[in-house]
């Protein structure tokens, strides 16, 4: 019983700060998922694209000493793999699941191989310059009552703040611009979109580019935004959780944000509980996956994907 009382020790502002940190890579990657699935392409390669982003970020930071160049290279690498997915599934009408799985396998093997070649260790790279935390300490004095809490909460990597901006931007692009309308048309009914004069292939490529870039950003947050080094398989299935968040968020940017934040809180809770040894962490870690299956089972009609993912071939 004391545990139930003590649980309020864990639920504090520090937990939410941690949750925000945990949610950030999920948000970026699930936005990547939203872009690709809205254009009618399943992207199970998010995991691999994140891993490639995390790796290339550390590699660039290692050689140039500039973490922001690392972020750029991660975005670039992620985009490159997004395009690879595009070439295989759009140009060659290949199977999307197989291509995505291939990218995941490749990323795992390639980063492990290169990590060993460059740093001599399969497990982890050396420490490299990371992205410093941006905090708003002046809030502590400026704002009464909640100033302390805000100070704790808002002591994060710039990529965390940028995440909210990217979510809004994705929403605007997808739902408030002609380009977004085209993306959704291409996903829902490529033949009709083609008849209406939309370049289906180009739209798909652009969406996959965006998808890969966002996944790369999520990956580089893991490596340069938190640990400042690369660890073997450091994405640890986050790409798949991002897919879950995308489904729970019903293929919408704000939905994906909300689902990712929920998962972030779950993970932060799990770490808090595990460090005290109260509750088997495995059961909490399984929750996002169980939740996704349940949601798919219960809200089938509402949780319907916005397209049928068939490769489109022009007649």
């Amino acid at each position: 019983m004391t545990h139930i009382v003590d649980i309020f020790d864990i639920i504090n502002i520090g937990l939410f700060a941690a949750a925000l940190r945990m949610a950030t890579p999920l948000v970026y990657a699930s936005l990547g998922g939203v872009f690709s699935e809205r254009a009618g392409i399943v992207n199970v390669g998010l995991e691999g694209m994140m891993l490639m982003g995390a790796f290339s970020g550390v590699l660039t930071s290692f050689y140039t000493g500039n973490a922001w160049l690392g972020v750029l290279s991660a975005v670039f690498t992620g985009g490159l793999f997004g395009l690879l997915h595009g070439v295989l599934t759009v140009k060659f009408a290949g199977n999307q699941i197989v291509s995505g799985t291939g990218i995941n396998l490749f990323a795992l093997g390639f980063t492990a191989y290169m990590s060993q070649t460059i740093w001599g260790s399969r497990g982890a790279s050396v420490s490299v310059p990371g992205i410093p935390v941006v905090s708003f300490q002046f809030l502590k004095d400026a704002v009464p009552m909640v100033g302390d809490a805000l100070g704790t909460l808002l002591s994060q990597s710039p990529l965390v703040y940028m995440m909210f901006f990217v979510v809004v931007l994705s929403y605007v692009v997808l739902f408030k611009t002609p380009f977004g309308l085209r993306i959704r048309a291409v996903g829902e009914h490529p033949a009709a979109a083609d008849t209406a004069g939309i370049n289906v292939y180009r739209t798909k490529y652009l969406c996959l580019l965006a998808s890969g870039m966002l996944a790369g950003l999520g990956g580089v947050f893991l490596s340069l935004g938190t640990l400042s080094l690369f660890v073997l398989g450091m994405t640890g299935g986050r790409g798949f959780i991002a897919l879950a968040a995308m489904i729970l968020g019903r293929w919408k940017p704000f939905g994906a944000l909300a689902a990712s934040l929920m998962f972030g809180i779950l993970y932060a809770l799990q770490i808090g509980l595990q460090s005290r040894g109260w509750f088997p962490s495995q059961l909490i870690l399984a929750t996002p996956y169980i939740l996704t299956v349940v949601v798919l089972a219960v809200f089938v009609r509402k949780a319907k994907a916005p397209s049928d993912y068939k490769p489109y071939e022009k007649e």
Binding site: L88, Q282, V293
Partner: protein, 415 residues
Amino acid sequence: MAKKTSNFRMLLHKIGSKLPATVRKRLGSTLFRLQPFVSSFFDKLFHSLANFLRDIVPSAIAILIALLVGAVVLWTTGHSPIDAYSKLFTGAFGDSYGFGQTLTQATPIIFTSLAFLFAYKCGLFNIGAEGQLLIGGMAAALVGISFTNLPMYVHLPLALLAGAGGGALWGFIPAVLKAELDAHEVITTMMLSYVALYVTSYLVNYPFKAPGWVAQTPLIASTAELPRILPPTLLSGSIIIALVMAGTVAFVLQRTTLGYEIRAVGLNTVAARSGGINVKKGMILALVISGLIAGLGGAGEILGVERRFIDGFSPGYGWDGLAVALIGGLNPFGVVLASILVGALRSGGMVMNRVTGVPLDIIYIIQSLVVLFAAAPKLMKLLTRRRAVNWRKAGHVLTKFQSILKKTGNRLSGK
């Protein structure tokens, strides 16, 4: 050739004419009656051989290209590709120990790739073989440690059955969700894989943990052990079950009503439905059997190799299943060959790593490249089309490149 045949026939004729008339008559009529069976047997053999070749040839080319790209990666990172590959090959096939290890590595992959293949023939993507394998392994381990006084001929089949049942259960959940609610099986099997990972990890860390620091169950009773068939390697009777399973899968898919229905659903759901096939039943059975195969693979690993459930014993055999099924050209016998190939990469890769210091992960790069090629058959067609590469043009570019290099070299050396 023609002359030879006629000589042969003459000979037969000679022998025939010396036989008594009654014997001759009977022999002739027997041969005459047998003839259609014999020829249809050869027809079928050639037919399936042709199918097999058709399925396997693109993969063979993909493997060659992947090995070439792997060689480039090795070379650019300062290793000798020839040295690495030769060590890999001799490590995998050079002696009986290496070959035993190769088959040991291949065994679970045969199961998971057959599992993927079976569901795929029904048009379903079961990418959750990992979870089905883990649940099957856990079920087998629990039966293995729970009974201590059963005779082997009861205990071992019971443990195997538990493994198959566990896997089938883990295939049944996405099957029902797919058939009844049309929930996408890719997502549900993927998510359930992770659920299985954490649930088995919980079971082995808490309720069934053996005393000590390692997250593992106690050893199973000796009556539940699958015998090791090639000591000192860990090769166990599981490989025999795997090979029998490959034959069974081929038989069920090609020669039974169930297989026909499953393939019909996979080819065209609408046509199958209007043809009177129960599509829902087909889908559910395909995924349940797929899970059963993967679960049996998990049981084989636990009962034959590990002899207890160790947390994280599977390095991703389930995920390999998809890759290997594609490398095997989605043909049951191709899948066995591809599994042995991947097993060889693993076991030979370890030897290569030990001897030459090449990171083991090169084999995962090669494997992933084959999968990427397999993802896009059209790309393979383009690459294997005759004169895909314009050699004359390529030669032209090369000579030009060389002359530029020469000129630059001359300029740099001040000539």
